[in-house]
Symmetry: C2
Subunit: 948 residues, 2 copies
């Protein structure tokens, strides 16, 4: 368990697809990353070895300008969603869910029923196709010629900047093999081309009014072999479907709407599937009827049909819609599931068997280095290096504060580098990043005050704690105790995370306020005023200087100072000149308190604001991601810049000038006993037991999260090997007096996120598909080597003001607190029921029960806080066990169904969008559905609870 | 033109319905305030004298528990939108747009086609109704009895906490007139009852599976006279429709969905209209078919049918859907339109004829006082009083700064009270609130520096400016020049508003930074250090005190101070004790600079945050509205509290201790010449001309906005009378040396908003209907009398620190700047096209043209800023005319169509909702439609441009 690394809160949403259907993994292993179930991103089915229908790009060419200037113009396109050409604005609309009028579908149906349907048409070129399509009895030869010329006319696509150029109107028939209908340059250069996966096919709908036709002309063609039909489509793709909908002039936008209906039909995965296999008109109409059976209808009086619905975040599974044949085709995929996916199918309460397995990592070892040879790893190293250094600085500064300098920034850098690099080389899951974490910091602070209370020599005592912890952890490894993690539910984790976050917030504010004691504010009535610089001289009489106190101010009013050699030089200058600063005001430094407060607030709010940049509309996504990922680095830089600009004597980070321990007078090796009696080395087992609970929790929950099935890790996990490494490193760091390290959830997730492999091809409105993680040891290793080298950054680090670090500290606490579902439930307490977001939780659990659950959590938190404030604070890891007990007791208060929603299920995605008017305005992604099985997800420890 | 009053930015959205169809006003005068065209809020049609069909409340009772424990349970209800009972959570869902599956509609159609249809059924009670409905041949007598008993069983409503109590199962037949089927207490106490207007009727759909039926049983009943059917419905309303859909068990939720389909049909205004007039089954089915013709269809693959769509902000006009008979019925309303509405029908470019009319207000005068006798007026007075006082304090403080005390807070209070009260008594539009406004403040500042540059006696010079302005204004009144306002388009107004806002922001920050010169920050190397308190004595030698300068610091190092009687008392104490503070540090007050900065930032951000509370989900709407309306008052209070808590000597608001002009030594009457040469009184005509332009703009644009047709003012406007009043008051205030006053847009709008009359009855999901404004003179008068009495607040006002006022000043500038469409277009420059909000503007104008327009505005703004920074700044009202010229020239650059979207149309409602993930997530209110005529609105000056 660790507090969130600033700036990385968003990763869980993007990197951890949450909504995994519990029972539907066979055909659809990763619906959370986008509308993949039926979409073009057939990566997963390819991986499973099942051939899938190619993706279809559909384009609507409309015939405009009757009667004077007939021309074809592309007015819409579909892959998953609809894009409409805004003719006046000259741009494609944002992708949106297409809406249709029911009559247009019905008209289309009757037009197709009476029209020409060619399935497996052998045409090899547009010319052949046009000839076949116009072979209709109702057309006179003259009309047929006109129509053919019209159909061969080159359509205008939006990309074409040149005007209409009907270059084919006069071409004479060519041979079928003739390759002069090669795609135009624009078609190949179309940026959409790169978004479509290889093998994609095109479908074209031609629709419009043609005055010289006496009756409507409908044709639907499926080409036997897809062929590039010249510049018919915007993108040079081989065409599979061709649909012609022409007719005499009629009122309204009849043919436009019919064309859209045909395009929407073709873009429907189910219709596509059927029509690819249709053998006659009847099959085609049956597919259309099946589509109609499934449509959603919005009543006219309550819905403006021209409104555009944005693509939902995730789509409902199409599995139910599959006809039996299709299901059979998909069926064989099931046995070929990867073991990770297979493992996952044990239902919501089963835990991953990684917890039982010990890692077998040797066969992967060479590839762990070879797989890192990719440019992406370079940027990952930079990003994680900066995050690690920020962590090392922040925790180093805080540890130095907490332990009175027994540890400091130098130890933090050194320990991070040594422990991290060693872990990356040895561990079972080398993607894990070791770091100081919040709980351990809190415990270390308590341990230090404990040892101070008993006048112990801290480092030797700590060494024994470390030895005991390592021993306990090795016992845990030997007994394969990682399976115990399953007893910790979200209730426990949230309570713990909330406590740690509150301690962070409390400490940050407390330390900031402490500065105002060190640098007091001079109030008008204050008497600590004035300072003289006195030089040694005959008249100087030191005993005359009386420190004024507010109580007896009148006594000094007419005091004879009797100074001879004195000046009004500032104290530092005075000392430099050989004088002595004298006076009650010599020790007060004005302005520092408020300036520190400004720095504190600035770095806090700046980091918070940068974090929000990620979801703003401004700047390209690369810039946004950069700003938000590096929010804490940038906030520290801003704080340092402000401080340097004004040049005030704010308290700065203490950095040793040379490579030696921060605590003066100790060597690198901690002596095993120091000044402590020998029996303290045995007594240390008690706090070690508490620490072991912490370490175990922190380490194992992180490991479970990192090895979640949705990350599709190929090389397996190594739960016990990792815990073993942590235990060994614990020994090492204790012996050297370095901080203790465990796996840090958020920074490790950030590491994995920066190594994501994603499909580049994705349709407009679709999210990129997640392919896997570059699993290797090299990035982590390089990061820690760089961190080690950064020890020599000391001359730079000493410019960092402490208030800035306190601000970052506060930011970390607030960010961690705001990321847990518990916080959202507390917020519900303040919201009138009417304005509450439409959370699934609230659809299934009565509000009073939700509030009761929240209130119990709040009460537990209050109790924890009280215990934490007493001298018994050091036992706080035991509180964890108490929380587990409370959670067990809750099973008598709440029904299993309620606990499922309140405690078991993964938190839903945030759906509370700030409204614009007085009325609440919900977003409604497709996942916002009570029946969607996407919402049910097996219980696993979640990253939200972590405190970095 | 005036800057926005803090905290009142939201009013324009709520109080000023923007989307008025230009040509469809006949049947539908106010579609902007909610889905009124067809909804239950038939106030406007009642006003127009056209009887309208009553509102229908529809309830779905489902038969659950077959076969053991049959019971009826209400599972859904509809008025405008659907509310679903969340059975598990025990709460009603938020109202949402109902979605249906097409097959359920088709099944319903065939069930009704084969079933029993009773139109104008004479039943007088549930019993009679049940008897009639069960009179079906297919039922055996035994089954009929069972069915009747079942139908008489009392349904469970969510409100009922008691369980099922089939109290009617055993009742024997009663007479039709028997009144024992009285509604239950729960039915009458249902809170929904108050939301429905009087005359509302109920429709009930009973649906479910009944195993003992051999075939489906469908019945549709329209009662001849609506009658309360016992506790059948949740609310005790007379029932008009009754629909029974029962049948043998089938797979899925067939009957539930059919029941929903029937309910949605009944809730459709068009279907309702038809079915109320249907005379046979054929009519009923035709109405259903007409409904099907109009539905919107969402494809199954791209839309999760269980997602809930929130009610759109405004609905499309149902006018096109009306059959001809209905249109005829609605037709006669047209001639009965009020004159204000009639006036509005001249198309998008006509201006309101108020501009030509002079006010005839005398007949309304008595009612102007009697109409104020309502409780609402009390809270309006409180609210507007606080806003006025805040304005008076802020502008008073700033005017004092700007004119070196020639005017101050006292003048501001006195002038506001006198001018405001006089205006409220005399003016044509007494809802207007007079106030100091941004442009006049800026001009006054420029005028002051001008007169200082020429060493003029300011107040006499200003008097002559006022005399000339009054003269010019009276000329404008005499020539009825108000019609000129039409030449100012949004381009001009936005440019001007942006300039004023930027000046506000620049000045606020500048004044704040100036404080750091007054209270310098003591840097470590600074030599302005030290201060002694010297008492008159023999050894004291004043000439020895040399003010240290950084340059020759070494000279004073070993200076012999030779002090005998001295102490280190703080300067104020020292002076009190009879000594003299001596030393370079005596005048520096530490900590003030940073503390002032903190106060400045705190009040700014606190006010901004409070403003945003209005649209948050927390707290009941009353609290939110209060917090956001009083944001500036609360921010000032917070600042004062912080300041008082720390007790530092921050610069405070200068308030005179007695009732006399702030400038020492002047009487209340300004002498007409003072020390100025006589010819300056003539030369004053030149700046007066400039000021007249400002005053004219500011006053008339506000007047046009306040008298907009959508506020439905009954008592008419008084454009010229108002300008006349302003001119006369100008004379008065100039003669007394008080600030100048014109109508303040935002505070006047806030005044009107606090006097809105709204319909209390509104259906779930519907917004309250706007009925009108309480037009009277009393609230304004009381506000200004109270403001006058507040002159005696001086002992309190002197605790307000100036940095707090600067913060509010900054807030006003930022709020005004962020409210104009220009700012949104500037933001577009920074957004990648992909992430831009789906604004209508962008659908119709190419992005490059939008950017070009924005760039031209930016260039104009830059030019204005440069002119403003030169000594010629005082001519800035002339820039307005320059902007008009630029706007004219733009007509050669942009097409009329583009200018229509960029400059003419009312700004669309903000639709840019911060997205949650990486992908942009648009809200899609129903108004987001390119074809909806709701979006086209006649050009009128908009309030966004105003600077309070």
């Amino acid at each position: 368990m660790e507090m969130k690394l600033p700036g990385q809160e968003g990763f869980e949403a993007s990197s951890a697809p949450r909504n995994i259907p519990s029972g539907e993994l066979d055909s659809n292993p990763d619906p959370g990353t986008g509308p993949s179930p039926d979409g073009p991103s057939d990566t997963e089915s390819k991986e499973l070895g099942v051939p899938k229908d190619p993706l279809l790009f559909i384009q609507l060419n409309e015939l405009l300008g009757w009667p004077q200037a007939l021309e074809w113009r592309e007015t819409g396109r579909w892959v998953l969603f609809e894009e409409k050409l805004e003719v006046a604005a000259g741009r494609w609309s944002a992708p949106h869910v297409p809406t249709l009028a029911l009559p247009s579908l019905q008209k289309l149906r009757s037009l197709l029923a009476e029209g020409l349907v060619l399935l497996d048409c052998p045409a090899q070129s547009l010319l052949e196709l046009v000839e076949q399509v116009t072979r209709v009895e109702s057309l006179s030869p003259e009309l047929r010629g006109q129509l053919q010329a019209l159909l061969l006319q080159r359509p205008q696509h939006y990309n074409q900047t040149t005007g209409t150029r009907p270059c084919w109107g006069s071409t004479h028939p060519r041979k079928a093999s003739d390759n002069e209908e090669a795609p135009l340059r624009e078609q190949c250069q179309n940026p959409l081309r790169q978004k479509l996966p290889p093998g994609a096919e095109a479908g074209t709908v031609l629709a419009g009014e043609l005055g010289f036709l006496a009756q409507p002309l409908g044709a639907f063609v499926r080409l036997r072999n897809p062929v590039v039909l010249g510049s018919l489509t915007e993108v040079s793709l081989p065409s599979r479907f061709f649909c012609l909908l022409l007719g005499p002039c009629m009122l309204g936008k009849g043919y436009h709407e019919m064309g859209r209906a045909a395009a929407v039909l073709l873009s429907d995965p189910q219709f596509q599937w059927s029509v690819r296999r249709a053998s006659n008109l009847h099959d085609l109409l049956a597919a259309l009827d099946a589509f109609l059976e499934e449509v959603t209808v919005l009543p006219p009086g309550r819905w403006d049909p021209t409104a555009r619905i944005p693509p939902p975040k995730c789509l409902p599974s199409q599995h139910k819609r599959l006809p039996s044949q299709q299901r059979e085709i998909r069926g064989p995929a099931v046995p070929r599931l990867t073991s990770a996916e297979d493992r996952h199918r044990h239902g919501p309460h089963a835990h991953s068997p990684e917890l039982q397995r010990t890692g077998r990592k040797v066969p992967w070892y060479p590839s762990d280095f070879l797989d890192a040879l990719h440019l992406q790893c370079f940027s990952a190293v930079l990003y994680i290096y900066l995050a690690t250094v920020t962590n090392a600085i922040t925790f180093g500064g805080l540890l130095g504060d907490a332990t009175d300098g027994a540890q400091g920034v130098l130890e933090s850098f050194l320990g991070t580098a040594v422990a991290g690099a060693a872990f990356c080389l040895m561990a079972g899951q080398p993607l894990t990043i070791l770091s100081s974490t919040g709980p351990v910091l809190v415990f270390e602070r308590l341990l230090f005050s404990f040892s101070r209370d008993y006048s112990l020599d801290y480092l030797p005592f700590r060494l024994w704690v470390g030895i005991w912890v390592a021993t306990f952890c090795l016992v845990l490894v030997a007994t394969e105790a990682s399976v115990l993690v399953r007893y910790f539910t979200r209730f426990t984790e949230e309570g713990f995370c909330a406590l740690i976050s509150l301690i962070f917030i409390y400490d940050a504010v407390g330390k900031m306020l402490n500065l105002t004691h060190t640098y007091p504010i001079q109030k008008p009535g204050s008497s600590a005023y004035g300072c003289l610089c006195q030089y040694p001289g005959p008249g100087g009489n030191e005993s005359q200087w009386i420190r004024t106190r507010p109580k007896d101010r009148d006594d000094i009013v007419s005091m004879d100072l009797g100074l001879i050699n004195a000046s009004l030089l500032p104290p530092p200058e005075c000392t430099r000149q050989g004088g002595h600063p004298r006076g009650p005001g010599c020790h007060t430094v004005p302005d520092i308190a408020f300036f520190s407060l400004l720095l504190f607030l600035t770095s806090f709010f700046f980091a918070m604001a940068l974090k929000c940049v990620k979801t703003s509309r401004f700047f390209p996504s690369v810039v946004r991601k950069g700003l938000s990922d590096f929010s804490s680095v940038l906030a520290i830089l801003l704080g340092c810049g402000l401080d340097a600009f004004l040049g005030l004597a704010t308290p700065k980070l203490m950095v040793p000038r040379e490579f030696k321990p921060t605590l003066p007078g100790r060597g690198w090796l901690v002596s095993p006993f120091g000044a402590n009696p020998w029996w303290w080395s045995v007594a240390a087992a008690l706090p070690a037991l508490l620490l072991s609970i912490l370490i175990f929790m922190d380490q194992q929950i992180t490991a479970v999260i990192l090895n979640r099935m949705e990350y599709r890790l190929q090389k397996g996990a190594g739960f016990h090997l990792d815990l073993f490494c942590v235990a060994v490193l614990m020994l090492l760091t204790s012996a050297l007096g370095l901080p203790w390290y465990v796996s840090a959830t958020v920074i490790s997730l950030a590491h994995m996120d920066s190594l994501r492999r994603e499909s580049r091809a994705c349709a407009p409105g679709e999210r990129p598909n997640f392919l896997g993680i570059r699993e290797q040891r090299l990035t982590g290793l390089v990061v820690f080597i760089l961190t080690g080298a950064s020890i020599f950054l000391a001359p730079v680090l000493k410019f960092i003001p402490m208030p800035v670090l306190y601000g970052i500290f506060l930011y970390m606490g607030v960010a961690a607190l705001s990321s847990i579902q518990f916080t959202n439930r507390v917020k519900l307490l303040l919201m009138p029921a009417k304005h509450q977001p439409d959370l699934l939780l609230l659809r299934h659990v009565p509000l009073t029960r939700v509030h009761l659950f929240t209130a119990i959590q709040l009460a537990c938190l209050g109790l924890l806080w009280i215990i934490k404030s007493t001298p018994a604070a050091i036992i706080f890891p035991l509180m964890l066990l108490g929380l587990v007990g409370v959670r067990k007791a809750l099973e008598r208060v709440f029904s299993p169904q309620e606990l499922l929603w309140l405690d078991e299920l993964m938190p839903e995605e945030e759906r509370s969008i700030p409204e614009k008017g007085l009325e609440p305005e919900h977003s409604f992604s497709g996942s916002d559905s009570e029946d969607s099985e996407l919402m049910y997800q097996p219980k696993a420890p979640e990253i939200n609870i972590s405190v970095n």
